[in-house]
Symmetry: C2
Subunit: 119 residues, 2 copies
DNA sequence: CATATTCGTTAGTCACAACTTACGGTTAGT
DNA sequence: ACTAACCGTAAGTTGTGACTAACGAATATG
């Protein structure tokens, strides 16, 4: 079983493909079957199946069997995991940027509004 | 000029490469020169230059020339743009998930001792 | 049981991206 | 002006991933 739970780095690689991003976008409204997805995409149905496997293996999608069809849906936990992972990539940089922004704002406020002493 | 401003889809493709993620991770503490980055990476210096070009073209990094060196740093605006783009990919799905969670909670509270295997 | 539907998997092809090597361009120092 | 340091670019090779076509498994239906 290659299925693993919520791998943020694999999720990033998965979302680097335009077709897979389109699949995820089509799943915004809710679960869809493979045939439905393939009908709205410019690639063959097996290709869609392969993309769905990639998206499922990294935890971004979940599968629900219903008769002969399989409905794929976005896994919100993976979404949260990806956002958290991205934040760890540049958190320090964002803090430094925010600090710099505050410093710039303080400089501007002291220059433009002389009569308003900031705290 | 291949340089463009804050392309979220290109940023996603850029971050799909492990070496580029490592570069971004090394830039968390602040700006670094090409030689510094190459010293901490398992690839050659020209390869680092090529990766830095990709990261700069999608708007994720900024360059500052200082003597013979070029210092690369994370561009916080691109970070914010990427997060916003990701949210547009699955915002509806997240809302549907929250609604479904509420529906499930209501169902559980109404029929706690029911055992339905489904279809 | 036979058939159709739906989907996953495999094999094989092809394009692209990551890498190294070699080279050229800038800037600082002597 | 000459040299060294630092970096970007071009050319060429190689591995990886996306795709189609063909096949097989599972389920519903007559």
């Amino acid at each position: 079983m290659t299925n693993e739970y919520a791998n943020p780095e694999a999720a990033l690689s998965a979302l680097s493909d335009p077709t897979r991003r389109s699949i995820v976008s089509h799943l915004r409204g809710g679960a869809r079957s493979v045939g439905e997805l393939a009908g709205h995409l410019p690639v063959s149905r097996p290709a869609v199946s392969q993309h769905l496997k990639v998206l499922s293996d990294c935890g971004l999608l979940t599968v629900t069997r219903h008769g002969t069809r399989r409905y794929y849906a976005i896994a919100p936990e993976a979404v949260a995991g990806l956002r958290a992972y991205l934040d760890t990539l540049w958190d320090d940089a964002l803090e430094a940027y925010a600090a710099e922004a505050r410093r710039q704002a303080r400089l501007i406020s002291t220059k433009e509004t002389e009569d308003d002493p900031g705290n």
